[in-house]
Structures are given as structure tokens and as C-alpha cells.
Symmetry: C2
Subunit: 172 residues, 2 copies
């Protein structure tokens, strides 16, 4: 499927409401349980999404658009939010307002097809285009939504008894 800027923004807009609908007000055992050592709980995932809004997507868009001599991105610290003193309700609110503000920035850029082909340098992956960065922002949302659902489902692995056979996702 070809990249489409408007559709990508539409999907990015929805994520905070999807995450909120999934998690708000749930008992903590559903939101802070993870898949084992060094894995994210749903609470951690929301922190990680916030980190992306604060440190990753917009700064990288700006590096590409500036087309300065050094277009190298700062590596994304995937564990930046760990240990932050914040509850889930606070994170859900903060993620929603950061995302809203960031999409306003993107809309105000009125990106042209030519700009979407401009490139930056990913510290590990090499040369990437602005269109690829924006598509990755949306894919990153979707895969972390899938992760939240999977992590929650796993908490009921014992509770579903023999049905675990039909849910291979729970043993992955």
C-alpha cells in the first residue's frame, strides 16, 4: 500500500482514544502486569508512546526538513519513561494532549510530495525518507496497540483452561 499523508494522520489521531478505551479505570492487575522480565506492561507501553511524542517523531521530522549537514537522528530511548512517578490516568491524558499538539505541528507544515522524499540518517538503519518516518509512526502505534491486547490476553492464560490451544498468541 502506498503512503498517504492524510490517512496516516487520521490513524495517528485515533490512537489516544483507542488506548484510553482499552485501559482507563481498569484494575491495576490488568494494566501493570507484563509478559515477564524486561517486557512492557500496558502502563509501560503508554509511557513509551509518550516518549515517542516527546523525543522522537517531531524532532526527527524537523531534522529531515532542515536538511542540515548532519541529518543523524538521536537514538530513541525505549526505556526513558521507566520509573516515572505517574499514574495511568495521568499518562493517558498526557499522551492524548502531546499527540494532539504534535499532529497540529505536522498539519501546519503542509508537507509537499517533494518534502516527503527528503531523507535523514537513522543511527542504525541508515538513510530513511520523511514518508517512511511518518508511516513508521503509525505502524509503531498499531504494533504497540497489538502488544497491549496481547499482554492483557496473556494474563488470562490459565483462566481459559483448554482454550489456550486456540489462542497461540498467548504462548508466543
Amino acid at each position: 500500500m502506498e503512503f498517504d499523508l492524510r490517512e496516516t494522520i487520521t490513524m495517528l489521531e485515533r490512537t489516544p482514544a483507542v488506548v484510553r478505551e482499552l485501559l482507563h479505570g481498569l484494575p491495576e492487575r490488568w494494566t501493570v502486569s507484563n509478559e515477564g522480565p524486561d517486557t512492557f506492561s500496558p502502563f509501560d507501553v503508554v509511557g513509551h508512546l509518550i516518549d515517542g511524542e516527546e523525543t522522537d517523531w517531531i524532532p526527527r521530522i524537523k531534522i529531515i526538513l532542515a536538511q542540515g549537514p548532519d541529518r543523524r537522528f538521536v537514538p530513541f530511548d525505549r526505556f526513558r519513561s521507566q520509573g516515572a512517578r505517574e499514574d495511568l490516568a495521568g499518562r493517558l491524558d498526557r499522551f492524548a494532549s502531546l499527540r494532539k499538539a504534535n499532529l497540529a505541528v505536522v498539519r501546519d507544515l503542509k508537507l509537499t510530495p517533494a518534502q516527503l522524499t527528503l531523507t535523514g540518517e537513522h543511527p542504525e538503519l541508515g538513510t530513511v525518507t520523511l514518508a517512511q518516518l511518518l508511516a513508521t509512526w503509525a505502524v509503531h502505534d498499531l504494533t504497540h496497540l497489538a502488544q497491549i491486547n496481547r499482554v492483557m490476553a496473556k494474563q488470562y492464560k490459565a483462566a481459559i483452561g483448554p482454550w489456550v490451544k486456540y489462542h497461540p498468541l498467548l504462548t508466543r
Copy 2:
């Protein structure tokens, strides 16, 4: 994690709004694309969730509670909705109203801990308890939500370019 009836109902209640928030009004290329032959698109998943509401969960709960001489469940037809003449908006509405009605039925049963241990016979899996059936209902929602997110993310596999390396879900 131990089964909890009230928490399970809370999660089941949210699914229609989560699915709606993810899919409503999206261009069709995002909702009818799948992962290849004989796989579900997001549109198909919503049809499958409707099938569960109409033919599976409540009838099985009733078979268990009746404790008649034959407690065998009817097999779940996973492809029943295929070919139905219906658009996505219609399916989202129908899923929401069916789920609401079915959870009203469950609440009205005022299930006791003793009833949750009653059993039925799954055609392939053998003896299962009412608690396991209810937990599976919620897990089935969560794994199909994860599927919707994964199927959508895969449509942008080419668009994200080198970032596919960080998203193994897209090549699974």
C-alpha cells in the same frame, strides 16, 4: 491471574467502542485488506465477533447452566459472516448492540461462584467450565483486537522501508 466475573464483563463491554474507534470511517483499503488468502481483514474480524455474539457465547453459557443430559456445544462456525451483504458501519453498530444485549443477559443471570464451576463439553477440547468460557470470551476479543492492529500495520510494510527490521510483527 484468577478469573474475575466483574472485570471480565468490564473488558467485554469496552470492545465495541475500541473497534469503532479503530475503524469507523477509515478508507476501505485499511478495513478490507487482509494478510493473504484465507485470512481475515478488519471487516471480517468484526463479522466474526458478531457471529460469536449471535451463535456462540450465550448459547454455550445456557447449555452449561441447563446441565441437561447432553452438554455438547455446537461448533463455532468461524466463517459464517463471509459473504454477508453489510457495510462496516452496519457491522460496528450491530456488534455494539448485540454485545450490550448479551452482557445484560449475563448480568441478569447473577452467576454464583458455584455456577462458574459447572461444565459443558466442547466438541474438540472436552470438558470446560463456565468460568473458562467467560474468560475465553474476553481473551477472544483481545486476540482479535490484536489481529486488527496487526493486519492494518502490515498494509504499511513497504511504506516504512528499513524500519521493518524493528517491527517483526509485520513479517510474521
